[in-house]
């Protein structure tokens, strides 16, 4: 099911649309982040009680939210208006349900499967990569949809 969802979202990115038609979740209030449309970042900002800073880059923008604890959440938005990657680092973990959106279930599923202990987590599936590590006071992580990364953009920029 997850592959099906990513396929649908990839079609949306290519078409430049900003709806989540066909997503395999029930409709709900605009819900942010990975795989979601740009407009949802405002919801992130409110939900996460964060300040926000926007940095334009080559073929995308970085929207950086700074949480009250000091943790930074960065959302990478294509010029077509879709969030193709998120990254975070800081003293506390961010609200990953909000940040990973529909992909939060993949994150929790990975934790429930055999994995690398409390201080490391990796998900690598067709169309979804999530990597997290660090420790209290210095957590770090990122998640991205490989097929949705704009041409010419390196994964190394997504952090």
């Amino acid at each position: 099911m997850r592959n099906g969802t990513v396929g649908t979202l990839f079609g949306i990115f290519v078409g430049g649309l900003a709806t989540l038609a066909g997503a395999c979740v029930a409709p709900r209030a605009a819900h942010a982040a990975l795989g979601a449309p740009y407009a949802s970042i405002a919801t992130d900002q409110t939900t996460l009680k964060a300040s926000i800073k926007v940095t334009p880059r080559s073929s995308y923008e970085v929207h950086e939210l700074t949480l009250a604890s000091g943790t930074s959440v960065r959302e990478y938005v294509t010029n077509g208006g879709a969030v193709f990657a998120v990254a975070w680092n800081g003293p506390t973990m961010p609200n990953l349900r909000q940040t990973l959106g529909d992909y939060f279930a993949n994150y929790t599923a990975a934790a429930s499967a055999a994995h690398g202990g409390h201080n490391h987590l990796a998900v690598r599936q067709d169309g979804l990569v999530i990597q997290a590590g660090g420790h209290m006071r210095a957590f770090t992580g990122r998640a991205y949809l490989p097929q949705a990364i704009p041409a010419g953009v390196s994964i190394d920029e997504l952090r």
Partner: protein, 417 residues
Amino acid sequence: MNCVKSAAAAVCQALVIGTSIAILVACGGKSSTLSGGGSTNPIAPAASNVAAAVVNAGPSGNDVNTLFTSVTICVPGSTTSCQTIDDIEIDTGSSGLRVLASALSLSLPTVTDTNGNNLLECTQFVDGVSWGPIATADLTVAGETAASLPIQVIGDTTFSSVPADCSSIGTVEDTVSSFGANGILGIGVFTQDCGVACTIAPANGVYYACSSPTECTAITLALTSQVPNPATYFATDNNGVIIELPGVATTGAATVTGSIVFGVDTETNNASGKATVITVGGDGTSDAGNFTTNFNSASYDASFFDAGSNGLYFNDSSLSECPGTPPSGYYCPAGTENFAATVVGLNNASANVNFSVANADTLFNGGASLTAFANLAGTFPQDDSFDWGLPFFFGRNVYFVFEGKSTSVGTGPYNAF
């Protein structure tokens, strides 16, 4: 280390249960077939300030490179209402003692604020969260005691309702099976589990005041009220810890036995010796707990030593990840590769580290009973982080000196090896 002394012989005897190669390391033998530190590190035998530490498969039977010890806790002030709990994971990436409620037979007094609200914590790990009340206990580890120590009881059935802000961070791990141990002993370099980040804004996602099990409010919490590093509560030997593990054969070991030594430069068995001091970032800074690793012409400035990580995790595009569905995230080079890195502290002191990365699938296929590998490595999300997990500790004595505490060679927070 002299193997003819009775205490040392006890340690050597324990190592017989492990590998015969491990015994050679502890008794001063050659270690040419070992991975890890490679040199012979003296491992302190059992003593008042020394607790046994073991790498084994854990309660799940599936763990690799996970270090366990036992603790004895009592109802505060009691010498009869006590329980010794095994399978307590040792973690230097966190601070604080946490015990799973299902593994706890004692009824411990919970901590409340002046309004009678219970103090609850949503402890954050990379892989999830653990929810439960703060309580107090008298703790004994080896011969060290901590009276009225605040600890967390994870998965307490009274407080089974987990706030949305907590469960939104990750998987809730409130059972022995999901947590992977009966508890965790966090003895990293920081005095409290959260630090300054939990004093500045209530929306830190960590601490809550609950007027009832279903009515919890996120709060800031003063440092003195946060869950402390238990070793800082010891009357003596409270300035740091040393993790001492023997080297491990390149193909792995079924079990490894070593020591956790409490205190640095406080007894005859915990001298700093010639260990290189690697200073780490302080609480409230962006590199808290971290130092720099130079490797492959790159600089990983958010590096750390962590006994609670079960591999060496770093980003290296030349190493292929293991295949599989889903992929494990470990590295699977065709053959074992040997590397050299340099670790540099914020004090600009540096030390070389040689390490190996074996094919993880080959290691795991070497036997289902193997639980310890000195050459297990995998990917890490950021290019600037190098997680020196438990493989680094095999064959080395690794020091964790607590923030603000002094030893003969420096003031914490720092690591040394």
